[in-house]
Assembly symmetry: D2
Homo-oligomer: 337 residues x 4
Amino acid sequence: MVIVMKTTATNDDVKNIERLLKRLDLGAHISEGEERIIIGVIGDKRLLDGVPLELMPGVDKLVPIVEPYKLASRTFDPEPSTIEVGESQIGGKKLTIVAGPCAVEDEEQILKVARYLKSQGIDFIRGGAYKPRTSPYSFQGLEEEGLKLLAKARKETGLLVVSEVISTEFLDQAVEYLDVIQIGARNMQNFQLLREVGRLKKPVILKRGLASTIEEWLNAAEYIMKEGNYDVILCERGIRTFETYTRNTLDLSCVPLIKELSHLPIIVDPSHGTGKGNLVIPMSRAAIAAGADGLMIEVHPDPKSALSDGPQSLDFDGFSELMGEVAKIAQVLDREI
Amino acid sequence: MVIVMKTTATNDDVKNIERLLKRLDLGAHISEGEERIIIGVIGDKRLLDGVPLELMPGVDKLVPIVEPYKLASRTFDPEPSTIEVGESQIGGKKLTIVAGPCAVEDEEQILKVARYLKSQGIDFIRGGAYKPRTSPYSFQGLEEEGLKLLAKARKETGLLVVSEVISTEFLDQAVEYLDVIQIGARNMQNFQLLREVGRLKKPVILKRGLASTIEEWLNAAEYIMKEGNYDVILCERGIRTFETYTRNTLDLSCVPLIKELSHLPIIVDPSHGTGKGNLVIPMSRAAIAAGADGLMIEVHPDPKSALSDGPQSLDFDGFSELMGEVAKIAQVLDREI
Amino acid sequence: MVIVMKTTATNDDVKNIERLLKRLDLGAHISEGEERIIIGVIGDKRLLDGVPLELMPGVDKLVPIVEPYKLASRTFDPEPSTIEVGESQIGGKKLTIVAGPCAVEDEEQILKVARYLKSQGIDFIRGGAYKPRTSPYSFQGLEEEGLKLLAKARKETGLLVVSEVISTEFLDQAVEYLDVIQIGARNMQNFQLLREVGRLKKPVILKRGLASTIEEWLNAAEYIMKEGNYDVILCERGIRTFETYTRNTLDLSCVPLIKELSHLPIIVDPSHGTGKGNLVIPMSRAAIAAGADGLMIEVHPDPKSALSDGPQSLDFDGFSELMGEVAKIAQVLDREI
Amino acid sequence: MVIVMKTTATNDDVKNIERLLKRLDLGAHISEGEERIIIGVIGDKRLLDGVPLELMPGVDKLVPIVEPYKLASRTFDPEPSTIEVGESQIGGKKLTIVAGPCAVEDEEQILKVARYLKSQGIDFIRGGAYKPRTSPYSFQGLEEEGLKLLAKARKETGLLVVSEVISTEFLDQAVEYLDVIQIGARNMQNFQLLREVGRLKKPVILKRGLASTIEEWLNAAEYIMKEGNYDVILCERGIRTFETYTRNTLDLSCVPLIKELSHLPIIVDPSHGTGKGNLVIPMSRAAIAAGADGLMIEVHPDPKSALSDGPQSLDFDGFSELMGEVAKIAQVLDREI
């Protein structure tokens, strides 16, 4: 933390701040510039939490220096993490593909998808049971019934099951059925939910909020990790910008950036990230080329009849094409699929 | 809903869509333009929910025509709503001022503020008991203890009490202590929480999400109203933009816009909306001048020692100045304070 | 400028930077924190221009401390500037109202508006002669013919004339006819144009770019002032955000902020800022309440027949209503209209 | 164009609009919905330009249906365009790599880069002669001297030369020296400049404005093409969002989207798009994987001593690594480098 003083700050103002820092067991380094004085704070920044230094006389502004997250940072763990789920690994050489329909609709649909994914060598199936929808008049998901159908699909095919949990009160229920818990973009800062999944022993896919900075995202991961659950997988799914031709703007530069800042694995969801089925394949290639550890893809046996988000879903032919394209990119990056 | 066909669409494509609409009990109006055909859908649009028309052969795009919210819309109730809380009204001639510290810190602090507000003729006190904080290492609030202190302040002063609820599991607890429930910006699309406050008989202040459109915000209000609770007060608190000099960009044009689109009252929070104490007074004047029904203001007996958000809080002198300034604006708009 | 070193930086890395700074006649203050070293740079920051300190071994990031603009800053001139145009003043007690049609269409139209404005006690008329339009197929303005019509209106009514110049090659022509030159939002970073109006002796209204930060805006003013023309009036006209109900998001918090950072006057354009005629009056009230020195308003004798931007224009009755509303706000703020 | 009427619109309101459209030689298709009437406008939409239909009694809003650009659209030319420059092609099977320093600094620098690029099999060198800089105190480029040095580099190596022109007044000068003219992000809507390069017989690289929608970008291309110059190459270079870890957010989804909407070639600039040297290689891979026709890359013999934008430049080793990585991606997409 650096404290920048106003050009009009007095010696007393500076002394006051030194005294305050001393009381908090923090050191102060004073640099007298030509125009103004700056004070470097030395020691554990958390001691300053809740101390409104900005209001001290003579202070112009504060400049944070160290990132606020610890456990999620690359400094904490310089090696990339790999996360074990059943016999699969997320973050290793093999890319992780999580695929399935936006919403679980009925047994036939989910089993059809599950069998198809199994035949393609995929390890993870996803399907929404609790659907967060902008309008209360839209289809809200099958809820527990949907989880049961996912469990049925797992039983038959051995696929690992991923689904979103949207509220703490459904957590106990959901944990029973799921191998990986997904926290959706709208809940990235539902801190109570983060804390509670932090107390579980299940891997968590944490989607980026649609207006969340990378720093807020890593702080959200920190909420989970601080409770003891280190198995967090980040998932970029597009941010909100002024552009309206795509539903969101998929921010692929966050992939290499997260690799620098954090040891956590990161996957990309080009289906929600673009909102357009015909952009899913090129953006999947791009995501892997940028260094992502995997993809989350919407696939539906019959997108035209899907109850939610049909337009961005691939059908089986589209998905097979995607797998072929991604495999070629993976290979030249020395990864597998 | 208008369906815009591709320039390459065939007669069969159009016939197909007519057939589909007919099956759903919807009518179709075909307009043949010079370059392309457009199809107007006639009937209850909700019948189309989950039908991915975008994927039908020949379809270029869909253009929604009618707003998705009903109960929150001005069409549903052409008169502005006023909401009764105790003996106060929100949305009437008298402006509603909700004031208090960002976080309840201890008994002395909250009683000091409560007595001061009472002396200023204010009806509502606010104070955070559950604090949603970006970092898990920041002060998270006194939780139930904070609610008890608020109740104590009410008992002594008769002020009505407002506080944020951040999770359904704290709702039963919170309801006991509060006169008005606040849903914070980060939870504007926590749909389960919206549904549950919709089942209560308490007024709800619904803050706008920091990247939420006005339409999403009114849809969030609709979630609450659909469950039977019509006492929703909207609160603009700034949206996220590229500008970094202010913490958020306070979108005051939403005030007259909401007045057109909806019958719900709207108040403005310039403390969070700007993140800077010295902008609170001018932006309060501006909010009232734009037509807001009230303000939510952070006030603290000693902002320099506040445990959270000190820099944007006013002290008592600042708040008295604000009240004086706002009163003058209110008067020329034929409102009271 | 503060240089933040990496946690892995060596003593040699720090020594290297000290040597480099010394060579540039700059001082260095070293602060050893618990986790990392930071170096405060002492002296004229401009000596560092073009020196990529970020690339020096061991450097993590640079944190600028002092604002890059000088002449536009409040530090340079602690008193608010007032700008004389003819017998009018911009930035003084009297609010500046600049009004007129989006585009000059013909003699009848502009004279009708001019006479009306004169009758309302307005000092400045505006009208677009060169229109920057998104599509090349839209009406592009009457060009020099439009300027001549504005000059005619001035001759008859004595109104001062404001119009936008969109290219250096039209500047000589435009200067002849205009009292105040307007630089539009799209040209806020047309640096060659800024430099050339900086060499003139005419006041300049500098609109904020639609994705420009306040800092970039003040830097654009600095380009003009650096060439010797200090008569710059800033004009907020809305920024681009994700919200689509309004054409832009009018950022009124920039008004009190600019008053802090700069001595330059600032006016607000709620017509372009919202894109909706029915928001112009409430947002005009709000702009003045926020502390703006004036308004730029689109007014047209017959908005329904306007060749450009009709929907956001007021007719004469609407404008008279606006003047009445704004006068009441001005009065309680101890300003005149 | 679809006209959506208010729920309160009368038969007369509808008749009025029909009459108006008829007068303009346009047809009207009336669809009576359950809640409101919509009117489809039939005929050349440009006849409506400047007709403020929004202001007609009973009109709620207008919904545009057809894209406003023609020459730039894929409908106009269903085959992807390839653009010939000397003996090179942009938009063909071979990827176009444009590389060089942000700014031309001196003869030694630019010749060193030119020889190096030649040795790598690159066809195009870029280097800024006129530099648009946010602050007037930053290095503004060598201007004509810089163009001469670029021409010298071409003479020696045969490389084709690309440089940015920032004002119409430098255009005659620049044309003499350049093979391809670059229009920078800040000038994407400098319409006078667009028109003038539209009258030249030189290919133009048109960078996307940092807050420009894809539609505005294609309209800017249309300005150039309308004057007769069809040789436009689009270049994505990042858009402005709330994220601050990267300088801009590189919007790679625009690549496949542009391929759908337009026949023009598109390249990507990951140097400006991210502002960070260490993101350039992964984002170059991603851009090509997304389907881009080439890259624009900053390379400098000694980034640490660069006079502008050093941190995002690659040195020669970095560039060679980039070429190797991109070549592998190109190959699996059946393209060459």
